[in-house]
Homo-oligomer: 338 residues x 2
């Protein structure tokens, strides 16, 4: 957890980098955004109202951009590329609308969440609606493989969330579970974006597989870094130990690696701290424990290893501006400080 000013400064730096990486694809973004707005239109007033609010307060469009750059790393985008970019954003938005209900979040991107304005009923139904819309848009491509990829990634996203609740309730996550969890919750959609980009430009099977592998590893590296930030920012100059994840009873890779080299007694002691809800003193203790066992370094090394694998997998593609953008993206994902 960071102080607000820290977080804002980092945010600027971060979106600056991302903006730079995605700058050459401004026209693609425009093209896609027009399509997305059209897809979101509805003749049912209430649906249209909520949809317009979502379009107005949209995010960085990371997923559609990733999809379009992935397509460009192979060939010129097609109509299906833009359609599919809208499909992944619809799916992503559906999950965010429901997530905000599940977590009872007040704000999303600095604006009131759907359920805070229109109540839970409408938010749940709008999430369902966006999920269905995403799949209808996917059928427009006329490709069963694209449809199946989208439906499967929707399933992975959702089962990832359920798996996380199950594991958080029981606090019995191991390394294998952790990778399955972040694979389903985060890497699945990132991987699908890359694979779908390739599929929409008639890539070869080897190219599709390369893009899929790149995306899966990019997503894993991204999530490990996210989990690392919880430990890294807690040890910063201004930072007080926060370990928000630990306080949410979430066990992530730095702690898992620390557990692996600790003795049974220590593991049990820390597990019970987390189970009963860690106090401020406990979180200090846990952070020191993770550091002493080199959990942060080990998790960081793993993230770099996975990032290298991501970059390696797209080395079979011809050199291009888009391939370089993907490589820069992989580096950015680990270098970010927020």
């Amino acid at each position: 957890m960071q102080t607000q000013s820290e977080s804002m400064a980092n945010n600027t730096a971060k979106s600056g980098d991302l903006k730079k990486i995605f700058a050459p694809y401004r026209d693609d973004l425009k093209h896609y955004e027009q399509h997305f707005s059209e897809v979101m239109r509805s003749d049912i007033k209430l649906v249209d109202q909520v949809a317009k609010y979502i379009v107005k307060h949209k995010g960085k469009q990371f997923r559609p951009l990733l999809l379009m750059v992935s397509a460009r790393a192979i060939s010129e985008p097609t109509a299906a590329t833009y359609t599919t970019a809208a499909v992944v954003e619809l799916l992503h938005t559906a999950t965010l609308v429901h997530d905000d209900v599940l977590d009872n979040s007040e704000l999303r991107r600095g604006f009131k969440t759907i359920h805070k304005i229109w109540k839970n009923k409408i938010a749940i139904l709008m999430g369902d609606y966006l999920l269905a819309k995403s799949l209808i848009a996917a059928t427009e491509t006329g490709s069963l493989r694209i449809m199946n990829t989208i439906a499967t990634v929707a399933k992975r996203l959702i089962q990832g969330e359920i798996f996380e609740i199950q594991k958080t309730r029981n606090l019995d996550l191991n390394e294998k579970d952790y990778f399955r969890l972040i694979g389903d919750k985060t890497a699945s959609l990132i991987s699908a974006c890359c694979e779908l980009g390739a599929l929409t430009v008639n890539a070869t099977e080897a190219q599709c597989q390369a893009m899929k592998d790149f995306g899966e590893n990019l997503g894993l590296a991204f999530q490990i870094k996210d989990d690392l930030l919880d430990y890294e920012s807690s040890s910063g100059i201004l930072g007080k130990p926060a370990l928000a994840d630990v306080q949410d009873k979430k066990v992530t890779l730095p702690l898992l690696y620390a557990f692996a080299s600790a003795d049974e007694k220590e593991r049990k002691q820390i597990s019970s701290m987390i189970k009963k809800g860690a106090s401020k003193k406990d979180t200090h203790y846990i952070l020191d424990f993770v550091k002493s066992q080199e959990g942060i370094e080990k998790a960081r090394a793993k993230a770099y290893e996975i990032k290298d694998k991501a970059i390696e997998s797209i080395s079979i593609l011809p050199e291009s501006e888009a391939r370089t953008s993907l490589e820069n993206l992989a580096e950015f994902v680990l270098n970010r400080t927020k």
Copy 2:
């Protein structure tokens, strides 16, 4: 609204009739149920647990049965018939799980609802999961048309619910809105079952259209009857005027038809009664008003007209046991007393 003993007696009569209609398809049902249980399996413990609970407390399987009978009205069912029967039940179940959250219902088919046992988070996620599963199962058929039909019906079901909330909030429903609402909320899935049944046995385009029309009209007749029951049962021997729909601020066909032949002043008076929440005295008054304007008879006549249209549309199919079952089903839908 009916007394409990009335309702139970009717229920026995009703399910007796439905059971009789569907009796010849017991083997199809078995075949489908086995497939459905397999589809519901998950290697994530919590998902599997909830899924098993759903399978254990399943309903009458009206939709999969309708789909299988529709297929048989044209030809022998195929593997795709059973797969698609599971697809529609998955979709239907997804909407029920979310509906129970939206309405905060305690019981479904006499058993505790998912969100009462596992809390809202899991219920919302399980609904999402079943929706995604439904679409993955649809891709198994390898038919883009089946996929698109399912995704579109999912959208219609959901937008129907949002439209209902919008119209209930504003209380400005007209006859056209009413038919759109019940078309989306009820007829869409019934129609899809009939059309999908035909699609899975390689029916001709004319046969698919006939089945689709049959289903749409069957669904409309079903819902009008449902709305009629609210008025019919309120005037029964034991019944006190209840008009549960009016109390929920829902305007249905009998009232709309009564409005159409009443003068402006009377319409406004009744609208304001409903808006502010009808008292017991108000519901008496509204029931008398609907009766005096022949709203119940007119809605009943409309339901019969639609039912006749349903039966007419499948007259192009060759005579068969299955076609007769569909005809009996259409009659049953209007003759039921609950």
